[in-house]
Subunit: 198 residues, 4 copies
């Protein structure tokens, strides 16, 4: 994984997702070189860059144009800009499969990564699910109590079996006296695989 | 427990020990109204105040005169100043039972609380052990990897059975969108009871 | 706190609440010798015993008669049986202030402790709130994602400000090679104080 | 990562390292297809399999012949047996670069993974360091307090800068009432890169 400090940051934009959490998300996503990824709420672009390093194509969505500019900078810095389409706007509208007027149409995809949902999590998962390929994965990361529960419930209504993993990381800061352990906020990753049975 | 924000603080002095950790230390100490407590490295005085609320007498030691002034302020604020002797200096010398020149002699005590030891942890425990009453408790709190191990090893050389508890706390910050969980640094409490067998 | 192993247990009945969690609940509850406590879902009676050691009176409720028998055993073992009323039944009905037919009427109380709610958490909090004295406390403990969120939301609808604390504990098992750290399941304590403004 | 339940296990042999920890170790190791990995204390072979899926060659060492048999089974099950040399014996002797009598000589390697060290951690790191290529990585995983400290100290004597990450994972078990969060033991990963300056 790319060290946290190798991302360009902006104090008004959340992220980057910490190294250890990016690592775990990439593992849980099972992303492969053939995959198309949709990254909702890309923020600083930490996960966008990691997905782009492996996937065929990433569609990064954010409502905040400043977040997209920052993601663009980080994609360029890490040499994966050409693999990513940056889309400004509301994920709910962008994912709407019936809105064929959307110029930047997103094809069916393998991974739906939701790091920020502006209160529309349930709808985004449901809309996204329609365009998610069979065996595709939905991944929701959050530090909010409510988001985890909403993700679990929504995935269950879609007959997906959510896996819930809460990750608490402490990192050592080595000082003269020894190794101080400093905590990072616990992140919960809710993930599920689409499994259609014929 | 007293809320964290009810302590007067100073950015150059560590503490106060967070509410939840003070709670756990008080539980593990089994402090009672008859007890005499020695608090080594009192810092802001968070634990000093909590012990003083219950114990008969607390001897608070710190090398840093500014820490003692801050502890004094917090003791006065919380109405328990008269129960505490503040001692500036090196815990190792102050605890030395053979140094009867020390004006502010500390009697045998029930609880040896070590929150800061300036690299002398082993010696402080060993010196303190001599003046610790039978059934008395040693408690060491730390966020350093090395301190835990040193405490465990030293207590074992004294034939004490250390209990090690690592406590990770996250607290909810309620914002418009929901409840963000924010981590506090993990603290490890090593404690042991002196049990002489005759 | 009473060590976990000093409670009589039954594999079919949850509990006792682990020592460190009992410690934190007692701290958060601010229980005092004048207090009346209602303990919903008492299970093994771990928290019931701890509250009874301090409070004036505890009303322990459980749907499961076997849980009440076990709680009774633990109360007797720890010498606090006479301070506790054991009530078999549905907390929702028992707390209903309008049901004056209930023989074992519960007076207004200072602490509403909810350790198990059988799916009725919202209703129990709302019913209980009516009989909770001003400055009284509601405390909900849980290892379930959904319960935390339900507790937070319900307390907010009652204009209470919930405090959310997630506690992860690891305890050292000392073996020949060193100190193995073994995790306990993380427990979340949601608590709030009733504050009427006149 | 391979799900935990896809490994063949034996109650007398530790492991497999849990999925999330394997994920984090693989990230921290930065293992690539050109790499040679030495896996000391392979146990069930969980990490051996993951390394073998990516690396060019893995040398898996264990004192316990039963552990090696189990690792062999898991390597075969996951189709990576041909990439691994299984070596029974004492890591300290096997890593000794001057013992050229050792038939199964290990070439200089890129990653030294130590999951079990039978009390020889310091010596294993020091011996291993000599055969570790420049920019190679040492990784030590442990649930023991003492091991972390020993790893940090030893790496520092070799002028390596240790990174210490403690990982606490809770996983959701979805039951009728909701999502119970169950803890796994916290694992600490100490890692460092060899950086020779000419």
């Amino acid at each position: 994984m790319i060290p946290d400090e190798d991302f360009i940051t902006d104090e008004n934009i959340p992220g980057p997702t910490k190294e250890e959490i990016r690592c775990m998300v990439i593992c849980k996503s099972e992303v492969s070189p053939d995959d198309i990824v949709v990254d909702v709420g890309c923020g600083t672009g930490g996960l966008t860059v990691e997905f782009a390093k492996i996937a065929k194509k990433v569609y990064a969505i954010d409502r905040n144009p400043e977040a997209l500019k920052l993601t663009e900078k980080n994609l360029k810095k890490h040499g994966v800009y050409e693999k990513v389409n940056l889309i400004e706007g509301d994920a709910l509208q962008i994912l709407d499969s019936e809105l064929d007027k959307v110029s930047d149409t997103i094809p069916d995809f393998d991974i739906l990564m939701i790091g920020g949902s502006s209160g529309d999590l349930t709808s985004i998962i449901k809309k996204g699910y329609k365009k998610l390929k069979n065996k595709g994965k939905v991944i929701v990361t959050s530090i909010m109590l409510e988001t985890r529960v909403e993700a679990v419930k929504t995935l269950q209504t879609l007959d997906m079996i959510p896996e819930v993993v809460e990750i608490s990381i402490s990192k050592g800061r080595i000082v003269e006296k020894g190794t101080m352990m400093l905590a990072r906020n616990p992140v919960t990753i809710v993930s599920a695989k689409k499994t259609l049975i014929y």
